[in-house]
């Protein structure tokens, strides 16, 4: 592992933080099995490490109850015993992933019934963890590999995470960390579209999932240095719709607090975020008056 105190990195050395969707409900309903998906992703992760000895790789599992680091190429802790047939990366990652899934399952409330609706993965948590890790790399010294985040996401957006995700996106943009998104679900993910659009990453929805490795290695393996010289797929259009803060629904049109810019799908007398009292529009005067009288 690279441990030289002052490292002089070549242009293409990268720190890749991958968030891996491990939402069991999504995978049980999805057309591609998780093992097919995972094996292609593992090969991709290995190829990233193959490209340069200094490349660094972190994998974060995104469950629906928790998130967790499942692999860090810089860490010296190898939990799994090395097996002959498999690179250490695979056995470590799989071992940690198994543990993570077990933990995630324990966290799910036993009486909680999903009612057949696939819950969203905790993308916001995974993004935050990724950004924290990258911040640590930034602070470790003036020399560090170029960081980027890759979201491998399948389950649908959770509108309730809107604020947290947008905050993560903006802090990524502030620290010039691009967020790439490879979205394999059926519809486009508005969150990831916005994330890649705002941070200057690539959003791509591979149409043919049995060739996932090909997409990953052709598009997402491109280091930030080479991106300046290459034409990469550009997603046409971004879904900019926001979620309202009150019911966490994606809305086209709504009310915005003039003080803190919170978004609401219906009229409120008071902003639930910052507490500003909104001016009474004309039509509400009677009702407001009647309330006062009662009080």
């Amino acid at each position: 592992m690279p441990s030289a105190p002052s490292k002089l990195y070549a242009d293409d050395v990268s720190l890749l933080v991958v968030t891996l969707d491990t939402n069991p409900f999504f995978w049980s309903t999805f057309s591609v099995s998780f093992s097919d998906f995972l094996s292609q992703v593992l090969a991709f992760l290995n190829s990233i490490l193959l490209l340069s000895q200094l490349n660094q790789l972190v994998v974060i599992a995104t469950g629906c109850n928790s998130c967790g680091y499942v692999y860090d190429s810089a860490s010296s802790k190898n939990h799994a015993p090395p097996t002959a047939s498999m690179p250490a990366l695979y056995s470590n990652l799989l071992h940690n992933l198994e543990q993570f899934v077990a933990r995630d399952q324990k966290l799910s409330k036993p009486d909680h019934d999903t009612q057949g609706i696939v819950p969203a993965s905790l993308l916001s948590g995974a993004l935050s963890m990724a950004l924290c890790y990258i911040q640590r790399a930034f602070r470790s010294g003036s020399m560090h590999p170029q960081p980027r985040i890759l979201c491998l996401q399948g389950s649908a957006d959770g509108p309730e995470q809107y604020v947290a995700i947008m905050n993560a996106i903006f802090s990524a943009q502030r620290s010039t960390v691009p967020i790439d998104s490879c979205y394999i679900g059926s519809n486009n993910s508005a969150f990831l579209q916005q994330a890649s659009y705002i941070t200057g990453g690539i959003y791509y929805k591979p149409p043919q999932l049995d060739g996932l490795f090909q997409y990953l290695s052709t598009v997402f393996a491109t280091d930030l240095h080479s991106r300046a010289f290459l034409r990469l797929p550009k997603s046409l259009g971004v879904d900019f719709r926001a979620s309202c803060f009150c019911h966490k629904q994606t809305i086209d049109m709504g009310y915005v607090c003039s003080v803190c810019l919170s978004i609401f799908c219906e009229r409120h007398d008071k902003c639930s975020t910052c507490g500003s009292v909104f001016g009474q529009a004309k039509q509400d005067v009677t009702s407001a008056n009647s309330k006062k009288r009662k009080a």
């Binding site: 069991p24 409900f25 995978w27 049980s28 309903t29 998780f34 093992s35 995972l38 094996s39 292609q40 593992l42 090969a43 047939s85 498999m86 695979y90 799989l94 071992h95 198994e98 899934v101 995630d104 799910s108 909680h112 999903t114 057949g116 609706i117 696939v118 930034f138 602070r139 649908a156 957006d157 943009q173 620290s175 010039t176 059926s186 519809n187 591979p206 149409p207 043919q208 049995d210 060739g211 090909q214 997409y215 052709t218 598009v219 034409r231 797929p233 550009k234 046409l236 259009g237 971004v238 879904d239 900019f240 994606t250 086209d252 049109m253 529009a281 004309k282 039509q283 009677t286 008056n289």
Partner: protein, 586 residues
């Protein structure tokens, strides 16, 4: 109670001392008329309320008669009414009338801008062609007034104002102490030529003289006497005779003020010493003054004189003078030179001193210290930069968003359909774990996937890349909007920008509390319906193969406008329907 017209008996007074002309005052919503009882009197009045700036009245219970005072630009009309109850009636009516006119008046006055403001706006418009276009479209056509337009662009104006720092004239860097006297040679007398500038500089240099001036002039002595004393003291200094100076000072206590070391300066220099950066502060208590060391008594004109310790009070070194001069010059002149009377000069200076002494200076000092205490060499390099938060260009945002509208329809899978999952959480997790252990057991498939798929994917991706390259222009940054003919695209973008501006104004004028806002919303509504119909036109005029896409692009804009128009109609209806209006609503 406001019947719209009030007629009362009153006396009209041109001044407070005027006994007044008895007559009848008639007040309406628009104007007031005073008819004197004596028809021959000239004090007939008929004045529009528009010209009245404000109104005052005497309080009930005070020993003054019930007066109503209406101020206009040149003076005021004073009416003495017969009773306070009459006064109240009149006052209420005047109040209502004035508030009504006040608004109109305010609008007018807003239009009267300072030329500086005007040039700033013109400059901004010239710099930003998009803004200029918008301005032309909205303001020139009367959809928005000038002031309304700029009200939402205050930030632009502010930024510009803060940017231009006027360069001020500083002090001359010549020693003012050496104001050379002119002598006519005949009598034993010298004359000093004092300009306001020199006086001002003396005050700045010598706070003690300044204070003395404020204290003595003109209560104790005249200005001429003051300056005579001052220059006498200066003369004594220049003789370098500390003993003589001490003697003179003992005789004339006023003179002593000038001869003694400037106390204020001393206090300041002590303060300065405390301000010295901690890294450099090596007990620099003696400050600028090295006279306590032998051979450091550098006196004016270079000659040295070691004199008795009791007289050191009256010594002044050239070094001190030079330092003080340098400090004052660096501080700069913050007042304009126009104040002629020295008294005002002195006062203005005093005010300024007070203002800056604590706040700004303290702040700056702290900043400086915090910067200096970190010695560069010892600190780790902190070069972790942040990119500025990027708020996208509205046009670009529109671009991406509209392209999206096109795409979702092509997808034909609009809306978010929740995928149903029939499995319980137990089963789902089990499934996932099975997949993982599956890989763990058998490893990755080899080969990972078929070569045919790989080729297909690569070809597909390459096609994607080259299609964006050829269909959307040379630039890969182009989007679907670029499919549209250039003219249409430009028109759409313009309409979008102006409709956004109109919508912003429209929504910000709710709730409607004044007549003015009501008329503004009406104007905006008209403008918006114009844009609406223009969008409709674009939709119809588009080529048949593009019509579908144009309509998709236009749709969200029309939606937003629709919502605004609907709100307007509903609001109008409600306002018309309601009888009594709550306070503050028109």
């Amino acid at each position: 109670m406001s019947s719209g017209q009030v007629i009362k008996r009153a006396k009209y007074k041109t001044t407070v001392k005027d006994p007044g002309t008895p007559g009848v005052i008639k007040l309406t919503g628009e104007k007031f008329v005073f008819r004197p009882n004596d028809p021959t009197s000239h004090n007939k009045l008929e004045v529009d309320f528009r010209l009245i700036k404000s109104h005052k009245n005497t309080k009930e219970g005070s020993n003054k008669p019930p007066w109503l005072n209406l101020t206009h630009s040149q003076g005021s009309y004073i009416f003495e009414l017969e009773s306070f109850s009459d006064l109240h009636v009149c006052r209420d009516l005047v109040g209502v009338a004035l508030s009504k006119h006040g608004e109109a008046a305010k609008v007018i006055s807003e239009e009267q801008l300072s030329p500086a403001e005007m040039t700033l706006r013109i400059k901004l418009l010239q710099e930003d062609s998009k803004l200029q276009k918008l301005h032309k479209e909205l303001v020139a056509s009367g959809k928005l007034t000038e002031s309304e337009f700029w009200a939402t662009k205050k930030k632009l104006l502010d930024r510009d104002e803060s940017r231009k720092l006027k360069q001020r004239i500083g002090y001359k860097n010549s020693l003012i102490f050496d104001t050379k006297p002119t002598s006519d040679g005949r009598i034993n007398q010298v004359k000093f030529q004092l300009t306001p500038e020199i006086k001002y500089q003396i005050f700045a240099l010598k706070p003690a003289v300044h204070q003395a001036f404020l204290k003595f002039v003109p209560s104790k002595m005249s200005e001429v006497d003051f300056w005579n004393k001052y220059f006498k003291a200066e003369y004594l200094h220049s003789t370098k005779n500390a003993v003589a100076a001490a003697a003179e000072a003992a005789e004339d206590e006023d003179l002593a003020v000038f001869l003694k070391d400037d106390e204020i300066l001393e206090v300041e220099s002590r303060k300065k010493v405390r301000r010295v950066d901690p890294t450099l502060d090596m007990e620099a208590d003696e400050g600028d003054d090295y006279t306590h060391l032998p051979d450091h008594g550098l006196f004016r004109d270079g000659s040295k004189e070691i004199s008795g310790a009791q007289n050191t009070l009256y010594q002044r070194t050239l070094l001190q003078d030079l330092n003080r001069q340098g400090a004052v010059v660096l501080e700069g002149k913050t007042l304009d030179m126009e104040m002629e009377p020295p008294r005002t000069v002195a006062e203005a200076l005093a005010r300024r001193k007070q203002g800056e002494s604590d706040g700004a200076v303290e702040e700056e000092r702290r900043n400086r210290i915090s910067k200096m205490t970190q010695i560069e060499d010892l600190q780790a390099q902190n070069d972790h930069h942040f990119a500025p938060l990027c708020i996208k260009d509205p046009r670009e945002y529109f671009d991406s968003q509209q392209a999206n509208a096109v795409k979702t329809l092509n997808d034909s899978q609009g809306g978010s359909v929740k995928i149903r999952c029939s499995l319980s959480s137990e089963e789902a997790y089990g499934c996932l774990r099975a997949s993982i252990s599956n890989i763990k057991a058998i490893g990755l498939r080899d080969p990972l996937f078929s070569h045919e798929v790989a080729v297909k994917v690569l070809n597909g991706l390459t096609k994607n890349i080259s299609s964006t390259k050829y269909h959307l222009g040379k630039n890969s940054q182009d989007s679907v909007l670029d499919i549209l003919p250039n003219a249409t695209k430009e028109k759409l973008l313009d309409h979008w920008v102006s409709s956004q501006e109109l919508l912003r104004h429209f929504w910000s004028s709710y709730p409607i509390t004044t007549q003015n806002l009501a008329s503004k919303t009406k104007r905006l509504k008209d403008a918006m319906s114009q844009v609406y119909s223009k969008l409709e036109e674009i939709k119809i005029s588009a080529q048949s193969d593009l019509r579908h896409q144009v309509s998709l692009v236009v749709h969200p804009m029309q939606q937003a406008l629709d919502a605004a128009l609907l709100h307007y109609e509903a609001d109008i209806k409600k306002r018309n329907a309601k009888g009594p209006k709550p306070n503050g609503y028109v």
